[in-house]
């Protein structure tokens, strides 16, 4: 199978869906001629023109709000927010408006809006350009939250996002754009709410998503050499959350490690751990372990940043200590 980058996979998804559906319109900063700061929209202006690929002023509240109005009136806007940190200047439009308009209107409104943005650390971008904010969006009812880890999933999930009608926060990872992976030539979509067992195993379950998923897979490969069969699950979407795949795995392995780049406290790992103990309390052989970014802003120093983000080594150590507990 051909291998392409995560950025090119996203570009293909947008291109194919825009060809299929004339209602799809892109809005964002520097997405036209410049092609986006991570080049995800490269070439789309030439194909689809400035009406459908709109460079906006630096006005996240304005263009996300406008995209909501467009979504309610027959268009399918895809907004690119250059860094997830910038969603915070427009948080009213995302959390108070997009997430709630359907509910507040008693089901009258449809808001088929996709907000594409990128998050995560690893580039030395400092505290206002490196956050992982999935929990912020997942906490507010009404938003789908998507976090692809591979080029194949990035394409399939984005194509699915553009064929469903709920507002969606599509969180790419800045360190994944230039990673390569197999992407089918033929048409496919990946529905939300379907976690994938990416490495099968029977000794312990590791649940992750986005860039941390790659570290979890590396950890599982290293552990295999020591005779430990870790099962790695990529959640792919936090909302909807596929707990069944996690439960099925933990019933088999009886041990769970959750790995994410979001901060540890009140993070997604806490929610997953809580649900697993509610559902499978008697089947757990050890407490659920969380590997996460500690509760500090992301530091600028790349040496220090690398040390505080989840790494292959920290996952390996967590697996060993979870297996050692009885």
């Amino acid at each position: 199978m051909r291998e392409i980058t995560y950025a090119d996979a996203l570009n293909e998804a947008l291109r194919e869906e825009m060809e299929r559906d004339p209602r799809i319109v892109l809005l964002g900063e520097d997405i036209g001629e410049y092609g986006g700061v991570f080049k995800v929209t490269r070439g789309l202006l030439d194909t689809f023109g400035p009406d459908r690929v709109r460079d906006t002023p630096i006005s996240e509240t304005g263009f996300i709000g406008a995209a909501i109005g467009m979504a309610m009136t027959g268009m399918r806007p895809v907004v690119e927010v250059m860094w997830v940190d910038f969603t915070l200047v427009a948080i009213d439009q995302i959390l108070n408006q997009a997430a709630k308009l359907r509910y507040m209107s008693g089901g009258q409104a449809r808001v088929p809006l996709v907000i594409r943005t990128q998050q995560g650390g690893g580039r030395g971008n400092g505290a206002q350009h490196s956050q992982s904010l999935e929990v912020l969006f997942a906490h507010i009812p009404g938003l789908k939250v998507v976090l692809p880890a591979t080029p194949r999933d990035a394409k399939g999930l984005l194509k699915f996002a553009l064929r469903q009608d709920d507002p969606t926060v599509f969180l790419e990872h800045k360190m994944l754009y230039f990673t390569r992976g197999e992407v089918p030539d033929e048409e496919y979509v990946i529905p939300f709410g379907q976690a994938e067992v990416v490495v099968p195993g029977s000794d312990i379950t590791i649940v992750s998503w986005s860039r941390s998923l790659l570290r979890a897979v590396e950890a599982a490969q290293a552990l295999r050499d020591d005779g430990i069969a870790a099962e790695v699950i990529d959640l792919r979407t936090l909302v909807p959350l596929d707990m069944e795949t996690i439960y099925r795995s933990v019933r088999k392995t009886n041990r769970l490690v959750v790995v994410h780049e979001a901060h540890r406290s009140f993070g997604p790992g806490a929610e997953i751990a809580a649900r697993v103990q509610e559902e499978l309390f008697t089947e757990l052989d050890a407490p659920v372990t969380r590997i996460a970014t500690p509760d500090i802003p992301i530091p600028y120093s790349r040496a220090v940043e690398a040390a505080i983000l989840p790494s292959t080594q920290t996952i390996i150590e967590a697996v060993r200590s979870t297996l050692a507990r009885v």
């Binding site: 009406d51 109005g69 027959g74 008693g106 089901g107 469903q164 709920d166």
Partner: protein, 324 residues
Amino acid sequence: MSSETRAERLMDFYRRMLQLRRFEERSIELYQQGLMGGSLHVGIGQEAVAVGVCAALRPDDYMTNTYRGRPQFLAKGADPGRTMAELLGRRDGYCRGKGGPMHVTAVELGCLGANAIVGAGVPIAVGAALSAKMQGSDRVAVTFFGEGATNQGAWHEAMNLAAVWQAPVVLVLENNQYAEMTPIRRTVRIERLADRATAYGIPAVIVDGMDVEAVHAAAVVAVARARSGGGPTLIEAQTYRFKGHMIGDSEVYRTREEVTEWMARDPLRLSRQKLIELGVAEDALDRAEREVERWIEEAVAFALASPEPTVESAFEDVWVSPSS
């Protein structure tokens, strides 16, 4: 326009303004009886703005507005019974009891939502206008907001986008002089808020918001400009909020004299006087009042008869498709 035609049209405006006034007054009574939750923000005194603007719209035009939004919602064509049922949180309300007074919405009437966040509906209306333009339709969008919104970032960003995109949107600034409990003169250093539109390259006009014919005339021009591809217009309607920010507001921030002075220019009173000057018989005006009385009582009866929503319904309408 002949004086007869003018009288007919003004009579129609008068009847509509009466409806909005009586709707708000009855809402206050029901609120004070404990039949509504939360806070109630009424637009008594501002009826000429809602009626004058909405009379210039087509049924398929879009609208966003605010928590003080029932007057515009009714003027855009909403059914009073279903609107009042929504205020009471009942099953037959437009939003099935999930929205309440601050969020009246009727998508099929182009009413995309009354907003509890000051300024937030303005970019949404600009987006709806852009949709219309991209779809090759001649629909326009109108957005109502208060003078307080012009101090918010969302408003400024939306103004700039409306101008950059030449969006077919009419921006209606209802300057009722008070941003919640603070007089506007204490929070801005310019005399004319409409001047802010100039900074964005948007034409602006200031009208007497108590004169329904003046508001309507300005709206006709603005809507025609938007519909014909001429882009956005800001209309600043100078008006006054006869009641407090919300029912129960102590109103310590203004004098009784100031309120009385503005109430002398009550848009209903001004229209009534003008109708009499135009030769309309008092009888006809009294008859209109009786008709509106029946209209509101039917609406209230419908709302009161509507059942409470089921608890299970609270879990509906979050998603179009919950599991995928």
